[in-house]
């Protein structure tokens, strides 16, 4: 059975359609990224899957249950990393992690979770005194302390510095290796590329492309752009397979110090997709 199965999901706020018929399947053990501009419906979709919001239409199955009616044993099997919580400011990191751990049947050891989240040095600090990035790491710690089978991460690395982001990626990979299914939303294309087995792009409440980071939006077949300079003029050609062109350039004794071969980045594909669908 798949971890998440969504068919024809719709959500309307006061006549405004935020989500318009989404189909989504996430297999067990998969890391799935949901990309999309602000207001595309990412958070709404995730909150419906978490059971925080009611859907207007469609069917949703998460870990074999409907999140709209599932009970506390179901909640014990999911983990939620909140997007902008501001709670427990007067507790220390250890106190809060210990408190949330106590709500589960078989939590991870508190010190281990704090270490995984990279907060060991801050474990005795009040949450109020943490930086924005550290605050988010507390959210991550609280999301994984219950050993979830399925973890939801809504823009988890917003406000992280590059080093913290790398460390966070390692944590997600480690969880994935343990078999945790992960659904994350993100604005960062490199993050999706670094972590996701598969991803989908959401624009205006609809999925406009779905695939692996290598194949999304026809990326694999988009071809390579070869640029070089010859006789003082910049030249470029875009080909599915640039081999013949390169051989010719070598034979012609062109100035190879100016040669570049580029393929579209995930960001190029993404911008193309959301541009075309706006």
């Amino acid at each position: 059975m798949d971890a998440i199965e969504v068919r024809g999901l719709r959500k309307t706020y006061q006549g405004q359609e935020a989500v318009r018929g989404i189909d989504l399947t996430v297999a067990r053990g998969e890391v799935f990224a949901l990309l999309g501009p602000n207001g595309a419906g990412k958070t709404t979709t995730v909150e419906i899957l978490e059971g925080h919001r009611r859907r207007t239409g469609g069917t949703v199955t998460v870990l074999g249950d409907d999140p709209g009616t599932a009970g506390r044993t179901w909640r014990a099997r999911i983990g939620v990393v909140l997007q902008n919580a501001d709670d427990a400011a007067d507790l220390t990191v250890t106190e809060m992690v210990k408190h949330i751990a106590g709500l589960y049947a078989d939590p991870r050891p508190v010190a281990e979770v704090i270490d995984l989240a990279g907060l060991t040095e801050k474990s005795r600090s009040k949450i109020r005194a943490l930086s924005g990035g550290q605050r988010r790491r507390v959210d991550v710690a609280l999301g994984i302390v219950g050993r979830p089978e399925l973890l939801f991460l809504d823009e988890p690395t917003t406000g992280f510095d590059p080093a913290a982001r790398r460390q966070f990626w390692d944590l997600i990979r480690a969880l994935a290796v343990e078999g945790t299914t992960i659904l994350l939303t993100t604005h960062y294309l490199e993050e999706a590329e670094a972590l996701a087995d598969r991803l989908a792009v959401l624009v205006g409440g609809q999925i406009v492309a779905e695939g692996t980071p290598a194949t999304l939006g026809g990326r694999a077949s988009a071809g390579a752009k070869v640029s070089w300079r010859s006789d003082g003029v910049n030249r470029s050609e875009t080909l599915p397979d640039p081999s013949d062109l390169i051989r010719r350039l070598v034979k012609e004794d062109a100035d190879l110090s100016t040669l570049t071969i580029t393929r579209p980045t995930l960001e190029d594909i993404y911008l193309n997709l959301i541009g075309a669908n706006r």
Binding site: Y13, Q14, E50, G51, H52, R53, R54, R72, T73, W74, R75, A76, R77, I78, G79, V80, L82, N84, A85, D86, D87, A88, A89, D90, L91, E95, H99, I100, G102, L103, Y104, A105, D106, K126, L142, G143, G146
Partner: protein, 271 residues
């Protein structure tokens, strides 16, 4: 571990853990501690000093009457106002959303709030009784009266907490919660014999209105506990009416609990 074999911690255990965390957080907010505990005491000192005269032949001073009645105000303000704005704040800051992502039950959350309110109300009542006894020579009651105090205190606290949580669902923002919640609180103080006693000075229809709400019965009950029996002549019925007090407060506990269950939601309503 599969879902079938998972044994989650009991609601009681989770509720106690919530209570511990609620108290810890409250105590770390020094300003809140001082204001919550000191404000009713300050009002008592003011009223007690300004209205120093006695009730005719009974030898009981107005300041002693205030000392007893203000306990009702203390419970009302911590249980009702602190809860109403506290739940609104929990909704705003993400505490409720956080907890809703875990296997905790709503009952455990409410239990935690109730524990916090009980601890705060005990502290508040202790401060008021201390001021009453030390400053205004209020007599210390005997064991039988303390027993009445115990059930009166528990019923009052529970009824006010449940109503506070219920009301929090119509309070949109924590910022304005205090102002909104204080409207019924202040109005009820005036018509329930807390600020103005004997209550018989009020028009009879107003006494009838007050009789539908818990505060009149709370303040009357605390006056029974701390004042001599002769003071009953100044009550609306000329009696202490302990049975009716228990009945009305019990009814409000049930009403509050039902409202609580019907209106409580983990997340903000979808717009």
């Amino acid at each position: 571990m599969t879902a079938a074999t998972m044994t989650l911690p009991s609601t009681a255990a989770n509720g106690l853990a919530r209570g511990r965390v609620e108290i810890l957080q409250f105590l770390r907010d020094r300003t809140a501690v001082i204001f919550t505990l000191a404000f009713p005491a300050m009002l008592l000192l003011l009223f007690g000093t300004i209205f120093g005269d006695s009730y005719d032949d009974t030898g009981v001073s107005a300041s002693q009457v205030y000392s007893a009645s203000m306990i009702a105000y203390g419970i009302l303000s911590t249980a009702f106002v602190t809860m109403g704005s506290g739940v609104a704040l929990d909704r705003e800051e993400g505490t409720l959303k956080r907890l809703h992502g875990t296997p905790i039950t709503p009952t455990a959350y409410v239990m935690g709030k109730l524990i916090l309110v009980l601890v705060l109300s005990v502290g508040e009542a202790a401060v008021l009784i201390l001021v009453g006894v030390l400053v205004f020579d209020m007599p210390v009651p005997d064991a039988a009266h303390w027993l009445t105090f115990a059930w009166l205190f528990l019923l009052s606290t529970f009824a006010c907490t449940a109503c506070g949580i219920a009301v929090s669902s119509i309070v949109k923002h924590a910022r304005t919660a205090g102002a909104i919640l204080n409207v019924p609180v202040v109005a009820l103080q005036f018509i329930s014999g807390v600020f103005i006693h004997p209550i018989t000075q009020l028009p009879s229809w107003l006494i009838t209105v007050a009789s539908f709400f818990p505060v009149k019965w709370m303040s009357q009950g605390f006056r029974y506990v701390f004042l001599p029996d002769s003071m009953k002549q100044y009550e609306a019925a000329g009696q202490w009416e302990l049975g009716r007090t228990a009945l009305v407060l019990g009814a409000w506990c049930v009403i509050g609990l039902v409202l609580c269950l019907v209106t409580f939601r983990w997340t903000e309503r979808d717009r």
